[in-house]
């Protein structure tokens, strides 16, 4: 057991920004990340075994990330890589496992920046080889320079779909169609709100132009119905959807494919904020629970801050700004920043966040989450991938009287597998809510317990003194 001034969990944009700001102000920071390299998803660096001459071929994000990472190293931040925070005890004591060694660190300030993950949306055929998530496809292409397929259908909602298409085309693949669930109507309402964010808008426009020139059909108000194939995906069926993003009508289009990329947004990783005892609230527009925070990024647990996509998905620019804001609050908490200086810097940080919120607001409206995506699963569709349990079995549990997701779990074993409900939790909650006619906030969530992720037994059997 040791103590630390500030522990930051997560080495993506938010965690890096928090560590940098705090360290610059003299705080001794420990930064923990489960990967061998810093960067998280957005600033994912290429594996160490890859070589590139100069910076040619490296994306803008990779280079930005590299700079930030180098600065962190230069500031003497203590790095614990390949390390998983598996538990949080007594508010701010984190249990960290590296290999087969575990250690407990009590922090005066704890910053959680765990990020988000692709929203798992079950639909017929979603477990076929060749069906990937948008985040997964991005990792494959940006991080490992591997194409997921040569004839690819993209389905989902959000600006990331265009980015994925860009990388596919750049890599020489054919994009047979992009199915955007949002009707993308009322764009005319937004120009005045988008004016201050011309850089983002221009970027989006460039991507749209690119797919138009490549002749890629961009179907708005469409969702994926089915992935076809026996041993691997060979076809994809899409159909129009309504405002809730539920499929309507009987008109379907079928495409020949060898890969399907599905991206219905992201959900925040809440294991750590729940283990820390933070209060959470459900955000209908995001379709996700998020931790309750003050404008200083502090959760309902004193000294525990949550920043970045792990506190509500809002993208990398917001993550950087929130990380910075938390870094300031941490420095003040530890007496490294006088109140007056803090007020000035924090006000600046809040201004930046307000500015970004304008754009985020438009994105969240345009690509609003629709619970209809959770009607795509049929009875035979796998809902819990770890335990291979179908949506139909979950429905049977509800018919047998289950009203809470924990009851469905007890009946069916849904959520008892390796992922402990990360993949099936969101879908199960919406399924139980829909079938019992109650709001999703009433059906409960799986009770969070350590470890936050599977950890080696050998590590936990031996506690470091």
């Amino acid at each position: 057991m040791r103590s630390a001034e500030c522990v930051v969990v997560g080495g993506g944009p938010a965690g890096l920004a928090a560590a940098r700001t705090a360290a610059r102000l003299g705080v001794r920071v420990m930064l923990v990340d489960e990967n061998p390299e810093l960067g998280g998803q957005y600033y994912r660096q290429m594996p160490g075994t890859f070589r590139s001459s100069g910076t040619r071929g490296l994306s803008k994000e990779t280079l930005e990330g590299r700079q930030l990472i180098e600065e962190i190293r230069g500031l003497g931040v203590e790095l614990r890589l390949d390390s998983v925070v598996w538990g949080i005890f007594d508010q701010r004591t984190v249990a960290v496992v590296t290999g087969e060694e575990t250690e407990r660190v009590t922090a005066q300030a704890l910053v959680l920046a765990p990020g988000a993950y692709d929203r798992p949306v079950p639909f017929p055929g979603w477990t076929l080889p060749g069906v990937l998530t948008a985040g997964g496809a991005q990792n494959l292409m940006k991080g490992y320079r591997v194409l997921p397929g040569r004839r690819v259908l993209i389905a989902g909602s959000g600006p990331l779909l265009l980015v994925v298409a860009h990388y596919l085309l750049h890599g020489g693949a054919q994009v047979v169609a992009i199915c955007e669930a949002s009707p993308m109507r009322h764009l005319w309402r937004y120009p005045h709100r988008l004016l201050p964010h011309l850089d983002f808008v221009q970027q989006g426009y460039r991507y749209r132009q690119e797919i138009r020139s490549a002749g890629v059909p961009f179907l708005t108000g469409h969702v994926i119905r089915r992935a076809l194939g026996t041993t691997e995906v060979t076809g994809a069926v899409v159909s129009p959807c309504d405002a809730e993003r539920a499929p309507v009508g009987s008109v379907e289009r079928c495409f020949d494919v060898d890969a399907v990329i599905v991206g219905y947004g992201f959900v925040s990783s809440l294991e750590l904020s729940r283990l820390a005892g933070c209060d959470h609230v459900y955000e209908p527009r995001l379709g996700s629970w998020v931790p309750v925070r003050t404008r200083e990024m502090e959760s309902t647990v004193p000294g525990v801050f949550v920043v970045g996509d792990g506190a509500g998905v809002a993208g990398s620019a917001v993550a950087l700004a929130e990380g910075h804001a938390a870094g300031l609050a941490v420095a003040r908490r530890l007496g490294r920043l006088a109140d007056r200086d803090y007020s000035r810097e924090a006000a600046r940080a809040r201004g930046r966040l307000r500015h970004l919120a304008g754009f985020r607001g438009v994105m969240d409206e345009l690509y609003s989450f629709g619970p209809g995506v959770y009607t795509l699963a049929e009875d035979r569709t796998t809902l819990c991938r770890c335990e291979e349990i179908t949506a139909g079995e979950a429905l049977e549990a509800v018919r047998d009287g289950a009203v809470h997701v924990n009851e469905v779990k007890a009946w069916t074993r849904i959520g008892m597998g390796r992922c402990q409900g990360r993949m099936c939790g969101p879908a199960l909650g919406h399924l139980v809510a829909r079938v019992t006619g109650r709001p999703v906030t009433d059906v409960g969530v799986f009770t969070p317990r350590p470890p936050a992720k599977p950890v080696p037994l050998a590590a936990l059997a031996r506690e470091a003194p």
Binding site: D400, N406, A410, P451, P454, L460
Partner: protein, 396 residues
């Protein structure tokens, strides 16, 4: 709203089994549970069914009643409760334990619960994953496992099929008392009255009883559990890592908790007695447990988990290669003499207690339900009920 004949407070295995048995006698039954069904100790245990007794008496009778009920219970409820009785092994680590277990095995034979002491070679022949460094093992034929969720929810479903009304998500905040009679409950769904209230709320029974000025000696005894990923090997038995205590079968703790300790015994550190290792049908290993009095705290601790794992790995070294998926804690409703409270509550009419089963709720749930039903309908009980009478502790 129709008035019920019986209101049951608590939707764990005890409450659901009672609902099933009473509904089977034609009574109008309503069960109220504040969370989800099976969300208390019934859903937090190690899935072990290993009835034990030191000598002739009520504990032995309970154990034998168990044997008779479980093999056909699943069929009766129309659900596979995954009851398996492969036998259990207690790990013997040194000569002193070997001598003790040899004595113990002889006594067990006398009372009809066969047990054998095996040297390590024979023990490993029967259970290859056992640590070769052990002295041996005590084999006991009555060790087994069950799926406690399917048992509890199976009872619930069968109770509903018999017309019982089971209402999860409905918290009972108080028992309603009129003079010296318990007439019903106050709940999230309003006040409900009934001829009889059955209190089967486990570790929450005492606070509820106190709302009607009834004091019952039930205290939560916390136990932590660990579950691993599915193992690449299959254990053939349920296992008990031995504890370095004088009496490995029945722990003895001071009453009341916080009262004067028995010599050499600290009730809170190290996390205490009663260990088990069982494997689910899917292959996960369930390890536990510890023993502490910490009120209604459901949080596992790193020390408790380390303690459990160290003991487990000492018996099955292959555990060291597995990953842990989850840890949790359950609250066993503990009583001063280790026997449950089944029968009329002290000093009031209209309240039947069915609580205080400590770590044997799953094992003694079915027989408890039949005892409660016999008491309520005034029929002959399958076992004498006097040892469980809640009034045995005298004053309230």
């Amino acid at each position: 709203m129709t008035r019920s004949d019986v209101l049951i407070v608590g939707g764990g295995v005890i409450g659901c089994a009672i609902a099933y048995e009473l509904a089977g006698q034609g009574m109008r039954v309503c069960l109220l549970e504040r969370g989800g069904l099976c969300s208390g100790a019934s859903g937090a245990n190690g899935a072990l069914i290993w009835p034990q007794a030191m000598k002739r008496g009520i504990s032995l009778d309970l154990a034998l009643a168990n044997f008779r009920l479980f093999p056909t219970l699943g069929e009766e409820l129309g659900i596979d409760i995954e009851y398996r009785r492969p036998g259990g092994m207690v790990a013997i680590t040194d000569e002193e334990q070997w001598a003790r277990m040899t004595e113990y095995a002889a006594v067990q034979h006398e009372i009809g619960l066969p047990a054998e002491v095996l040297d390590v070679a024979e023990a490993r022949r029967r259970e290859p994953e056992l640590n070769p460094a052990l002295r041996g093992a005590l084999f006991a034929a009555q060790g087994g496992t069950i799926n406690p969720f399917r048992l509890t929810l199976g009872y619930a479903r069968a109770a509903r099929a018999r017309g019982a009304s089971l209402c999860p998500g409905t918290e009972v905040s108080a028992l309603l008392r009129r003079g010296d009679r318990i007439v019903g409950v106050r709940s999230a769904a309003g006040d409900r009255e009934a001829e009889r209230v059955v209190l089967a709320a486990g570790s929450w029974s005492a606070p509820l009883a106190s709302t009607a000025h009834v004091r019952i000696p039930v205290v939560p005894r916390q136990g932590m559990m660990v579950v691993t990923e599915p193992a690449p090997f299959r254990l053939r038995h349920v296992l008990k890592p031995i504890k370095a205590d004088r009496d490995p079968w029945r722990f003895s703790q001071p009453w009341p908790p916080g009262g004067p300790a028995k010599t050499g015994y600290d009730p809170n550190l190290p996390p205490g007695k009663g260990m088990g290792l069982a494997q689910t049908r899917a292959g996960n290993l369930l390890l536990g447990s510890t023993s502490r009095f910490v009120g209604l705290d459901l949080g596992p601790t790193a020390e408790g988990v380390a303690y459990i794992l160290a003991h487990g790995a000492a018996v099955v070294p292959a555990l060291g290669r597995l990953q842990i998926l989850r840890t949790w804690a359950g609250l066993r409703p503990y009583t001063p003499d280790g026997l449950p409270l089944i029968g009329p509550a002290p000093e009031v009419e209209g309240l039947v207690l069915a609580t205080g089963h400590d770590g044997s709720g799953i094992g003694h749930g079915p027989i408890s339900a039949r005892l409660v039903t016999a008491i309520i309908i005034k029929a002959d009980p399958p076992l004498p009920v006097e040892p469980f009478d809640p009034r045995r502790f005298g004053h309230s």
